[in-house]
Amino acid sequence: MAVEERDHHSGYLTTGHDWNGITELNRPVPKVIWLFLLVTFLSALILWILLPAWPLGTTFTRGLLGIDERAAIAENLADAAAARADWADRVAALSFEEIDADPALSRAAVETGRTLFGDNCAMCHGSAGLGGPGFPSLADRAWLWGGDRDAILETLRVGINSGHPDSRSSQMLAFGRDGILDRRSLLDVAAFVQSLSDPAVAQGAEADAVTAGAAVFAENCASCHGDAGKGGLEFGAPDLTDGFWIYGGDRQSIVTTLQQGRMGVMPAWEGRLSETDRGILAYYVHHLGSGAK
C-alpha cells in the first residue's frame, strides 16, 4: 500500500500514503519554523521568569521584577489625583465669580466638567445640557431649586425625590386623576396657565376660561407656584410665566400634567462623585446656564 512517489514539482518524495487521492510530501519542517518556535518559546520563558506566572500550590512565582499590579494601580491613582489637585481643589473651594476671574482655572474646570457631565448627567439632561421631555434644560435661565453655588451643590449632593435622607422633594398632585379638580376646572386652569406665558390666550374665545381658571389657580396652585405663577425655589415649583417647560407647554401637555401629576427624580450624587467632582460639575452647570443670561 505505502508506495513513496516523487512529486515532480517540488522534488520531494511523498510519505507513501494515499487518502482518497490526497498525498503528503515527506518534507522536513522548514528551518524558519524551528527558529520562530525558539524565539516565541524563549519570549514566553523570559516573560514567565520576570513576571508572576506559575502557580505553586497556595502561592505563585513572583517574578524577578517583583511587580505588584495592585500597588502600581494605587500609586497611579494617587499620582493622577495629585496632578490635578492644585486646580481641582481650588475649583471646589472658590466661588463662581472667583473662578470666572481666573481664565486658566475656568478653562480647566469647564474641560473637566464637560466629561464629568457627559459620563454622569448627559443621559437625562443631554450632551449639551439642553434637557428633553421630562428633564429640565440646564442651559436656560430657569432654576427649580436655585442657580447659585450652594443651591446647585446641594441639589447635586442630595438629588430630587432620590431616597437620600436629605433629598429635596417635590410633587405635583394628580389633580384630574385623584378627583381634586373636576373636568371643567381642570381645562380652565390649563388655559390660565398657558396664558401666563402666552398673553394671546387670554384674548378672544377663551377669555372666560382664563378668568375662571385664575380663580381655580389661586385656590389650588398658588400655594406652590406663587400667586403670580412665578414658582417657588423652596418647593422646586417651576416658574409658569417664563416660557421654559419641562413637560411641554402646549395645551395637551399642560392638561396631561394636571391630570396625572408629576414627580421628577434626580439621583443623589453624594457617595458616587467626590466633593471635588461635584464642585467642578456645579461650576460647569452654572457655566452652561450663564450663556443664557
Binding site: 514566553a44 505588584d68 493622577a80 486646580w87
Partner: protein, 536 residues
C-alpha cells in the same frame, strides 16, 4: 428505532411543556414536540418505501451530508441576516422597533448561535461525515446515528435560538442555552464522537489522515468544554432558569477557558480538518509537509488550552494567571502560522488554479485570513496591547476577521467543492456566481474588518486621552458618537457578505435542480470494503 427516538423526544417536549406551564420552558417544550413530530412524520413516510438492497452498502452514505449542507446554508442566511440587522441597529437604535424580542441583548446571541453553531456546526458535521468516510475508505457504520446527530444538533440550535427570543439565556457568551438544551447537546455530541470513532475503527487505510485528527480533536474537546462550562443547577425541573456551579472569578475563568477554546476547537480545529481535505483535493497537490502538519496539530491542541485567560487581562483575575495565558498565547503563534503556511505552500504548483477557480481561491484567501487573525490574536493577547484594545471594536474586528475571512470562506470553498460531488454534477450551476460570491465575501470582510480596526483604535485612544488638566478628555458618549460612521461601514460590509451567501444559496439550489449526470460518478468514490459486512 428512529420512531422510538422521535416518540421519546416528543414525550420529553410534552413533559417540558407540562412541567413548565407557568414558565418560558413551556414554549421550549412545544418547539421540541413539534420538531419531533415533524421528523417522526418523515420517518413514517419512508416506512412504505421498498426495502433498500444490499447495493447501497457498496457506496458511502451521503444523504445526511446533503441535508447538512442545505441546513448549513439556511442557517448561514438566517444568522447573517440577524447579524447585519444588529449591525444596523448599533448605528440606528430605533431599528429595535420597541419590541423586547428585537432588543440587542436577544438578537446578538441569535446571530452568534445562528452563524457559529447553525452555519458552522452543520457545515462541520456534514463535511466531517464526508471526509471521514473518504479518508477511511469506509462507509459509516449504520445510518441512524448519523441522522440522530445531525437532526438532534439542529434541534439544539432551534431550542437555543427560540429561547433567546423569549428571553431565556444563562448569560455566558457563546454558551447561552439553558440546562435542558445543554443536556440534550451532550447526548447528541457523545453519539457524534462514538460515530466518528466507529467509522475510524472500520477504516481500510493503515494511517489516519490529518483532517481526521482535527475533526476528532474538535469533537472531543468541544464535548469537554461544553460539559464543564455548563455545569449548573436548575431552579426546578419545571423552570428554564439554572444557576452556574461557578461564581466570581472562577466563573469568569471557566467561561473564557470555554470561550477561547470554542474558538480554538470549534472554529479552528474543525475547519482546519475541512481545509486539510478540500484544499489539497481541489488543488490536486500533495500536502506541503507531513511533518509540519504534526507540529502544528500538537502545537495548536496543546497551547490553545492554556491561553483563555488573555480574555481577562486587567480584571480581577490574578496577575499570574494573566501572564501565564499571555506566554502561551505567544507560543501559540508559530503552530498556527505553520498550519496556514502548510496550506498555502501546498498550493505551490497549482497557483494557476487559484487564479482561475474561485472555489480554490475561497480556500486560499481563508488560509491567509487564518494566518492574519492568529497573528492578531497573539498580538492582542500581549497585555499592554490589550490595554488599548480590550472592550473596543478592535476585538469585534478580530473575531470577524476569523469568522468571516477564515471560517466562512473555508466553508463556502468546501461547500462549492462538495456540492457537485454529492449531487453527482460535473460542476456548480454557475462558476460566474461562485466568482460573484467570492468578491462579495472578500469585499464584505475587508470593509468590516477595516471599519472595526479604525473604530476600535479610535475608541481605545479616546478612552485613554487626557487633557491638560489631567482628566480624561472624552466622555463615553463622545466615543459612541465617534463610532457612528464606522458602524454604518461595518453594516454595509456585513450586507455584502450576506448578499454573497444568498447568491451562494441560489447557485447551490440551481445545481441541485440540474438533471443528474450519472456519468460524473467519480471513479473510486466508494468504500474499499465494497462487499463488506452489512451495517447494523
Amino acid at each position: 428505532m428512529a420512531l422510538v427516538i422521535c416518540a421519546l423526544v416528543a414525550i420529553t417536549g410534552l413533559a417540558m411543556a407540562v412541567a413548565g406551564h407557568q414558565d418560558p420552558l413551556a414554549a421550549q417544550g412545544y418547539v421540541v414536540l413539534l420538531f419531533a413530530l415533524a421528523v417522526g412524520l418523515v420517518v413514517i413516510n419512508g416506512y412504505f418505501a421498498p426495502a433498500p438492497d444490499e447495493e447501497r452498502l457498496r457506496h458511502y452514505y451521503d444523504d445526511p451530508i446533503k441535508v447538512g449542507i442545505i441546513l448549513s446554508m439556511i442557517w448561514a442566511v438566517f444568522g447573517m441576516f440577524i447579524g447585519d440587522w444588529v449591525a444596523w441597529l448599533l448605528a440606528y437604535p430605533e431599528l429595535t422597533f420597541d419590541a423586547a424580542w428585537a432588543s440587542f441583548g436577544r438578537l446578538r446571541p441569535v446571530h452568534t448561535t445562528g452563524v457559529i453553531f447553525g452555519f458552522g456546526g452543520n457545515a462541520l458535521i456534514a463535511t466531517s461525515y464526508h471526509v471521514m468516510q473518504r479518508t477511511c475508505r469506509a462507509r459509516m457504520p449504520g445510518q441512524l446515528s448519523a441522522w440522530f446527530v445531525l437532526l438532534g444538533y439542529n434541534l439544539f440550535c432551534l431550542v437555543a435560538v427560540s429561547g433567546y427570543f423569549i428571553g431565556i439565556t444563562q448569560s455566558k457568551e457563546y454558551a447561552e442555552p439553558e440546562w435542558y438544551a445543554d443536556i440534550w447537546l451532550v447526548i447528541v455530541w457523545v453519539t457524534y464522537l462514538v460515530l466518528y470513532m466507529r467509522t475510524l475503527a472500520r477504516r481500510q487505510e493503515p494511517h489516519i489522515y490529518v483532517a481526521n485528527w482535527y475533526f476528532l480533536a474538535f469533537i472531543l474537546v468541544v464535548a469537554m468544554l461544553h460539559i464543564v462550562n455548563n455545569l449548573a443547577v436548575p431552579v426546578s425541573l419545571g423552570s428554564a432558569k439554572s444557576y452556574s456551579a461557578f461564581s466570581g472569578v472562577q466563573d469568569a475563568m471557566t467561561q473564557w477557558w470555554y470561550g477561547h477554546n470554542a474558538v480554538a476547537f470549534f472554529l479552528t480545529a474543525g475547519f482546519l480538518g475541512m481545509m486539510y481535505y478540500y484544499l489539497p483535493k481541489r488543488a490536486g497537490r500533495p500536502i506541503f509537509s507531513y511533518r509540519l502538519s504534526i507540529i502544528s496539530f500538537w502545537g495548536i491542541t496543546f497551547f490553545y488550552m492554556w491561553a483563555g485567560s488573555h480574555h481577562l487581562h486587567y480584571t480581577a483575575l490574578p496577575y499570574w494567571v494573566q501572564t501565564l495565558g499571555m506566554g502561551f498565547s505567544i507560543m501559540l503563534l508559530v503552530p498556527s502560522w505553520a498550519s496556514a503556511g502548510n496550506a498555502l505552500l501546498t498550493l505551490n504548483g497549482a497557483w494557476h488554479k487559484v487564479r482561475d477557480d474561485a472555489t480554490l481561491r475561497f480556500m486560499m484567501v481563508a488560509a491567509v485570513f487564518y494566518g492574519l487573525s492568529t497573528f492578531e490574536g497573539s498580538f492582542l493577547a500581549i497585555r499592554p496591547v490589550n490595554a488599548l484594545s480590550h472592550y473596543t471594536d478592535w476585538t469585534i474586528g478580530h473575531v470577524h476577521a476569523g469568522a468571516l475571512g477564515w471560517v466562512a470562506l473555508i466553508t463556502f470553498g468546501s461547500i462549492y467543492a462538495l456540492v457537485p460531488i454529492l449531487w453527482k454534477r460535473e460542476r456548480m450551476y454557475s462558476p460566474v456566481l461562485v466568482e460573484v460570491h467570492f468578491w462579495l465575501a472578500l469585499a464584505g470582510s475587508l470593509i468590516y474588518v477595516f471599519a472595526m480596526w479604525n473604530s476600535g483604535i479610535i475608541q481605545g485612544l479616546m478612552w485613554r486621552t487626557y487633557n491638560d488638566s489631567g482628566t480624561l478628555a472624552y466622555s463615553f458618549v463622545d466615543s459612541v458618537v465617534a463610532m457612528h460612521p464606522y458602524y454604518i461601514a461595518r453594516a454595509f460590509g456585513g450586507l455584502l457578505f450576506l448578499l454573497g451567501a444568498i447568491v451562494g444559496c441560489y447557485n447551490i439550489w440551481k445545481t441541485i435542480r440540474q438533471p443528474s449526470d450519472e456519468a460524473v460518478v467519480l471513479a473510486g468514490d466508494h468504500p474499499a470494503d465494497a462487499v463488506a459486512e452489512p451495517a447494523e
